[in-house]
């Protein structure tokens, strides 16, 4: 493609699409077979890499933190944590919101980007969805264990009982139950359904009888017939339609946990959009955290390309700006409302004894990412993005810390002001959920197709059927 002469085209990278100047979604040179072999090979190989065992062990070991922490928690009570009066919520709620937020990127990628026909999403959507589910697993742990009597946590669910007692539906915590359980179930269904064609492929290619049996069951009799494909596609669209509002609603409902309360610092109408944006912000950061090592480790650079990283960084830039607007508005409203409560809360948040948390948040969520993500160079710099993704997720964790803790610990009556200090059990369970997440993710990359083979295959040039003998469906797919 390069032209001769002094004005040499800078785009000599084979990964760059000459028509658009963008990075290609898939590196050139792939065909149906190579894609299938590459992805299915990871699952069906008999040579499991040693690194995988190591990673699984580390993840599992750290996940023991959850097991040990919860055991002690159930034996003793939530008093082993740093929660107290006035800060009656602490790490558990912070972690819950953080994990749920992380999950949001997966749903956004699989649902909203599907509806918007952003085909680049295909390479990353499977493991982004997996990330969603594992994040929801981690998140879902917290509301259940954070209650004082966890053995009665099922009372939050509306189940018919002889006492005719129902949850109190005015409480945002009751709404949470619906939001999170709906979110978890839809995400799992969507994820599983998307994998059915790939399970069919794996079943057909598996040599071990156990794998054949296993994938055979999971593939639900998938034969790849046109009828199957038609149904598959329409089901995908339907589920995407169902999931799309969830991307907005779940974190909106979770923001209600705070916004509905009468506490200065919580009681604000800006929370729903700002929580959703924050969720997507942190979710994409987590996708990047996962994508970069995976593509390196499994040599998937040609399927998960710089194009994906660049696009995700752009999404982060966009959502990060919304989040920054949210922070700015909070400060502005604290002044503009002329409310002493709001004013004091903001002053205390910035300059009170826990002001350091606020400034960490501003640094990691606003200053570092939003000044650098404008640069395309940095957006495609894999190392930088990888580090930045950690910075952003630290920032997002601190955002929840600032909201939960610094609003609570100095509220209306100065006599009841307190402080919050997390205990080793808080940290153990928090770090434990990261281990649990890693553990589940390692299982996922080993036993399930982490990149949707069927969807990648559809993106290959080979699916571009020349006039005459064109398959209607694939044509429509391609032109999209």
């Amino acid at each position: 493609m390069a032209t001769k002469g002094p004005m040499q085209d800078p785009i000599v990278d084979p990964m760059i699409d000459p028509r658009t100047g963008e990075y290609a979604v898939i590196a050139p040179g792939h065909n149906f077979k190579s894609v299938t072999q590459k992805i299915a090979g990871i699952v069906l190989t008999s040579n499991t890499p040693l690194g995988w065992f190591f990673g699984l062990m580390v993840g599992g070991g750290v996940a023991m933190g959850v097991v040990i922490g919860c055991t002690w928690l159930f034996l003793k009570g939530v008093g082993i944590w740093g929660v107290t009066i006035p800060g009656a919520w602490g790490f558990a709620i912070i972690n819950f919101v953080w994990w749920i937020g992380i999950g949001h990127a997966g749903t956004l990628i699989s649902a909203i980007l599907l509806l918007f026909k952003q085909t680049w999403r295909n390479s990353i959507n499977r493991f982004a969805e997996a990330m969603t589910i594992f994040a929801v697993v981690c998140a879902g742990t917290f509301p259940l264990i954070h209650v004082g009597r966890p053995w009665l946590a099922y009372w939050l669910f509306p189940y018919p009982n002889t006492m005719n007692v129902w949850p109190q539906f005015r409480s945002p915590l009751a709404w949470d139950v619906f939001a999170v359980s709906t979110y978890a179930s839809i995400s799992i269904v969507f994820w599983y359904m998307g994998m059915i064609p790939d399970f069919g492929t794996l079943r057909d290619r598996a040599t071990m009888p156990l794998a054949k049996y296993f994938y055979g069951i999971l593939s639900l009799g998938w034969r790849g017939s046109t009828r199957h494909w038609i149904r598959y596609e329409s089901a995908s669209l339907l589920l995407a339609g169902l999931s799309t509002p969830l991307v907005l609603s779940v974190h909106t409902v979770i923001s209600f946990d705070f916004a509905v309360a009468a506490l200065a610092g919580w009681h604000t109408t800006i929370f729903p959009p700002y929580f959703v944006a924050g969720a997507i912000y942190s979710g994409f950061a987590m996708v990047i955290t996962l994508a970069i090592p995976i593509r390196k480790f499994y040599h998937l650079e040609d399927l998960v390309t710089l194009r994906h990283l660049d696009n995700m960084a752009k999404v982060m830039l966009g959502t990060g700006l919304i989040v920054a607007y949210g922070y700015g508005m909070e400060v502005f409203m604290a002044w503009y409302s002329a409310s002493h409560w709001e004013f004091f809360m903001m002053w205390n948040r910035m300059f009170g004894p826990m002001g350091w948390a606020y400034w960490i948040l501003i640094l990691t969520n606003i200053t570092i990412p939003l000044t650098t993500l404008w640069s395309r160079k940095l957006r495609v710099n894999v190392t930088y993005l990888f580090l930045l993704s950690f910075v952003i997720n630290t920032g997002m964790w601190f955002e929840r810390f600032v909201i939960v803790v610094t609003s609570l610990y100095r509220d209306y009556l100065p006599s009841s002001w307190g402080t919050y200090r997390a205990t080793k059990w808080d940290y153990m369970i928090y770090v434990g959920t990261m281990g649990l997440f890693t553990f589940l993710f390692f299982l996922f990359v080993r036993f399930l197709p982490m990149i949707p083979m069927s969807e990648i295959r559809m993106m290959l040039p080979q699916t571009k059927i020349t006039r005459g003998g064109a398959d209607a469906e694939t044509v429509s797919k391609e032109t999209a």
Partner: protein, 1050 residues
């Protein structure tokens, strides 16, 4: 040696052979155990019982015992009863036998219906007559005796907490001889035999706690008659020596003062913490009298209180004008005032105070009073006598009477002579009655060394404490709720102490010990008291006795003014304060655990102390400047050296403390002897206390030692900014530019949480609490809600969400609407309400570590806010419990509906339904909800099970709880009213906090009844809601304070 719990406790019940069957029967008479067999004989005859008894008591059941004068059958009867009592004592495991209900129910007992008995709590400064609530013969609540002319039903921190003291699981349960379990009979015999061998009691010394019992004094007279050489010395670490010495000088004999504050326009306290608790004699009538005159009502003259003090106390902060002085300066000040000349070297501020005070006192026309503190020097007392006499107060606001203590003495001097005798080997038997001198005696006496010189030492105490552990004999002492006695109260009235419960662990009282030396050593305390009561119960004795027991006091025994009137002016002969060098140290009894006697009472250890809000700790308390001078920060350990002795204490700053002096509180720093609660709490200030400096002493040095000590303070604002102010921000305070302020106190005023006005201001604008403009109401300054204080109804989606005139559908009557009004003018911050709440509502004690992270469980707290410059602040007290909001935030956010509203307006917790999300607490702007983060309630300690209020559930782990407005009392009143087919009368329901409040600051009732007291209070202009602009519409409202400052000092 302590015998581990679980050991049978009945051995001491078995008297030696000389006990007759009749006596055994008499002993058994009226005994009621927790487990009730059909009858004891039937139980005693079963083979299973024989077997059990052999296993449990091989010594008693041994064959050689069968030949005793006690018949076999009679013996078994005792055993049976003892076992039944073991059940009562709760220190054995539950018997395996089936337990039957009553066949013959005791006559008076209706299960579930409490009974009330009058008795009195003996305290060194005068007894507190009480009314004890007893459920199934277990005392479960101690309150002031409403019929007594002095208490009028009010009570205080210590009296309330004696309940837990009774059920203290660490009480000693046996007579011990050289650490081995022995018996009272053996002691009695040994003691009587030894006494008989002496010549007239030579070498027999009694060291007793302060005696307030006329009967005990009479018994001592008898002992003296029999053994003229025996000696009795009274000694307590916190005593009234100053007043004794001064009164002897002024009146020629020991004299007590009784003040009538309801008559006084001007009150001057010279280091007298008369609003702090019964550590000051006559706390209850003084507090009531003060509050009565401090209420703001049209056409009533308000009193004005001046306080000159060292340690900032609630009295000082209630005062219109408070002057912080070192103890030595207080003496100088008092003497100067008595001489009418301003003290030398006084600052301009002190001069001003002095001038205003002098003019006020002079112009009051005798309607004034000067109260000297028990911890002030004798010279201060002498000055007070002279002032009261010169101002014409005697006979008007103060009378001088004979002492409550029938045998008054100057205790330190007596103790000194005792120790001298001990060292000289003159003491053969040292019998200590309820004192713990090894722990609390001034160190310079060398009491411990002298103790080793005494051949036989005996201690009667409720615990095997520091002294008991090294005494030859330890006799377990009965609690006052278990024994017979009589005592005098502050006004001299005699009350009979009657037992509420069988002694849980046997036990003996001082009466029994003295009786052991007399002709009839077996005579019970009851007989002794009855015999002596005949001297003061006039008329028909049987009727008078019954009346005395029923009423709780004996009519006509109150003291009258002593002849001799005002006494002579002894000021001139009083020693002026010695020149001081170095730091002064002031020793104070602790406001919560006094001299250490309540060290093992969890309620009191955990109770946030007055003013300091310290819990589970004592500290070296000093001023901001002293803290800075010593280069300390709060929580730094500081070594205080005094006369070559040292103690390490955590430093703490209290606003308003004078410079150059450190206040330490006594009673802490005890070892395992203090019991499971009291051990290892705080530091022991007795370590540096000498006989010369019992109250205060100069010449101390203080130095920081490495390390840090996390003080346990329930209000974080006290520690979070003050220390850093002192050290780093004296020049440029963090929040306020004008001075060194408490951020929290500043915010409390900015947010109109505290509102008050001066008398002039309230006259100008009676509605100052809502319109602002007064010195203590900043509403006009800060509009934290755009609508102002109250949200207009039209702004609400549900303008009539709470309809007061709601009809009960079944009766068509207008429903009750419960509400509370708290008068901030009357609240003195004494904490009595909190301890009362503890007892009433089965509130658990959580321990130091939990309090430190903010998990204390008190449903009610006294918020203390410091206003103004922290070098000389004002302070405000505000009781804060659940506000029972009509539009409660907690109810809307609970996902399971565990906190709900009743039609009568109570915000109730359904413990069974609570899953513990704690969302309600987050949404409560008053932060009055308390969460069981761990299993705080003690389900295991047997003795504590008896203490619980059966009408209130004991909350388990993971459950939210909070003030219920004593819903159990509301329901009880409803049941009674229903049965009598009438409405509940106003004042019929009294919440536990209201009941205890010495100043009647709390009023509870039906606000739908417009004639009710609470409705009238709420209709007052000064009534305001805390955080009104949040529109939670709290049912508890506060009456804004009014102060009456001197115009020149305002």
């Amino acid at each position: 040696m302590k015998v581990p719990a679980g050991q049978p406790v009945v051995v001491t019940q078995i008297a030696p052979a000389k006990m007759t069957l009749a006596e055994v029967r008499a002993k058994l008479d009226g005994k009621t155990g927790r487990r009730f067999w059909k009858n004891l004989d039937e139980l005693a005859e079963t083979p299973a019982f024989h077997e059990l008894m052999r296993e449990e008591f091989p010594r008693q059941a041994g064959a050689n015992e069968w030949v005793d004068a006690v018949s076999r059958r009679g013996f078994l009867k005792v055993m049976g009863a003892s076992l039944a009592m073991a059940g009562l004592a709760g220190c054995t495991k539950q018997p395996d036998e089936a337990i039957f209900p009553y066949i013959k129910q005791p006559e008076d007992l209706v299960l579930g219906k409490p009974m009330y008995f009058a008795t009195a709590y003996p305290f060194p400064t005068g007894a507190i007559p009480v009314l004890v609530k007893s459920d199934s013969f277990r005392p479960i609540k101690v309150d002031g005796n409403p019929e007594h002319p002095m208490t009028k039903g009010k009570s205080d921190v210590f009296t309330q907490a004696t309940l837990l003291d009774l059920y203290d699981p660490d009480r000693s349960q046996h007579v011990l001889h050289r650490g081995q379990v022995s018996s009272w009979g053996e002691f009695q015999q040994a003691f009587a035999t030894a006494a008989k061998k002496t010549s007239g009691g030579q070498g027999i010394y009694f060291l007793s706690e302060t005696i307030t019992s006329p009967t005990l004094a009479a018994q001592w007279k008898q002992v003296q008659a029999a053994y003229p050489q025996a000696k009795l010395i009274q000694w307590e670490p916190v005593n009234q020596d100053s007043s004794r010495a001064a009164s002897k000088a002024a009146f020629g004999s020991y004299t007590d003062a009784q003040y009538k504050l309801e008559e006084a326009d001007i009150i001057l306290s010279l280091d007298a913490d008369f609003l702090g608790g019964i550590g000051h004699p006559g706390f209850l009538p003084l507090a009531a009298g003060y509050a009565e005159r401090h209420r703001y009502e049209e056409g009533k003259t308000m009193n004005r209180l001046y306080v000159v003090e060292t340690m900032p106390t609630v009295t000082g902060f209630k005062a219109e004008h408070r002057l912080a002085l070192k103890p030595s300066e207080i003496t100088t000040f008092a003497l100067a005032l008595a001489n009418g000349a301003a003290p030398q070297g006084a600052t301009a501020e002190q001069q001003k105070f002095f001038a205003a005070l002098s003019s006020d006192l002079k112009n009051s026309g005798g309607k004034c009073v000067v109260i000297p503190g028990e911890q002030a020097s004798a010279a201060v007392h002498a000055a007070a006598y002279a002032l009261n006499s010169a101002l014409g107060a005697v006979g008007r606001t103060v009378i001088y009477t004979e002492t409550v203590n029938p045998m008054p003495s100057e205790q330190v001097a007596d103790l000194k002579s005792l120790v001298a005798d001990m060292k000289a080997g003159k003491v053969q038997w040292l019998v200590m009655l309820g004192v713990n001198p090894i722990y609390s005696a001034p160190w310079d006496l060398g009491f411990r060394d002298a103790f080793a010189n005494v051949p036989v030492t005996v201690q009667l105490a409720s615990q095997v404490d520091e002294t008991g552990a090294i005494s030859n004999w330890h006799i377990n002492k009965t609690h006052y709720l278990e024994s017979w006695s009589d005592v005098r109260a502050y006004d001299g009235t005699i009350s009979i102490i009657q037992p509420m419960i069988d002694p849980m662990y046997g036990g003996k009282s001082s009466h029994d010990v003295l009786q052991a030396l007399l002709a009839d050593p077996q005579q019970s305390a009851y007989d002794v008291v009855v015999a002596n009561a005949k001297t003061y119960i006039k008329g028909d004795f049987a009727a008078g006795w019954r009346k005395a027991l029923h009423d709780g006091w004996v009519e006509g025994t109150a003291f009258t003014a002593k002849a001799g009137g005002a006494g002579k002016n002894a000021v001139a002969s009083s020693p002026a304060a010695a020149a001081t060098s170095g730091l002064e140290v002031s020793f104070r009894p602790d406001p919560s655990i006094y001299d250490g006697r309540f060290a093992n009472v969890g309620w009191l250890q955990e109770l946030p102390k007055q003013v300091t809000n310290l819990s589970w700790d004592n500290a070296a308390i000093m001023s901001l400047n002293t803290l800075a001078d010593l280069k300390l920060d709060e929580s730094d350990p500081v070594k205080i050296s005094l006369n070559g002795r040292e103690v390490i204490a955590p430093a703490m700053m209290i606003p308003g403390h004078p410079d150059g002096v450190i206040t330490v509180h006594l009673g802490f720093g005890r070892g395992v002897e203090a019991g499971r609660v009291g051990q290892g709490v705080g530091f022991d200030a007795y370590q540096i206390r000498t006989t010369d400096g019992l109250l205060s002493v100069s010449g101390a040095t203080a130095k920081k030692v490495p390390g840090t000590y996390d003080l346990c303070i329930t209000k974080v604002h006290n520690i979070e900014h003050r220390g850093s102010f002192a050290q780093h921000d004296l020049e440029k305070p963090l929040y306020d530019k004008e001075g060194v302020y408490s951020l929290a106190g500043h915010e409390a005023e900015e947010r109109s949480i505290i509102r008050y006005a001066t008398l002039d201001e309230v006259k100008k604008n009676p509605n100052f609490a809502h319109e602002g403009g007064a010195s203590g109401t900043l509403i006009d300054k800060v509009g934290y809600s755009p609508q102002g204080e109250t949200i207009p109804k039209s702004n609400s989606f549900f303008p009539d969400a709470w309809n007061y005139e709601k009809q009960d559908p079944s009766t068509l009557k207008i429903q009750n609407a419960w509400g509370m009004a708290i008068d901030l003018n009357s609240c003195i911050g004494c904490n009595a309400c909190i301890v009362s709440c503890y007892a009433e509502n089965n509130i658990p004690v959580v321990g130091r570590e939990q309090v430190k992270v903010g998990r204390n469980m008190q449903w009610l707290r006294i918020d203390t806010y410091f206003e103004g410059d922290l070098h000389a602040p004002k302070a405000h007290f505000q009781p804060m419990a659940c506000q029972h909001c009509e539009n409660a935030g907690c109810e809307q956010v609970c996902p399971v509906g565990a906190t709900v509203h009743t039609p009568e307006g109570l915000n109730t917790m359904v413990y069974n339904r609570c899953v513990g999300t704690r969302y309600c607490s987050n949404n409560c702007p008053y932060k009055v909800r308390r969460f069981n983060f761990l299993l705080y309630s003690d389900y295991d300690t047997e003795s504590l099970k008896f203490m619980r209020n059966p009408d209130v559930s004991v909350r388990s782990r993971g459950v939210m709880e909070k003030c219920s407005y004593c819903v159990q009392r509301i329901e009880a009143a409803k049941i009674i009213a229903d049965k009598e087919n009438r409405e509940i009368r106003d004042g019929e329901i009294v919440t536990a906090c209201q009941q205890a409040c010495p100043t009647s600051a709390i009023t509870f009732g039906n606000i739908n009844d417009k004639a009710s007291k609470v409705a009238k209070l709420k209709a007052e202009e000064r009534d305001y809601q805390v955080l009104a602009d949040l529109a939670f519409r709290p049912r508890t409202t506060y009456t804004a304070g009014v102060i009456n400052p001197h115009p020149e000092l305002a």
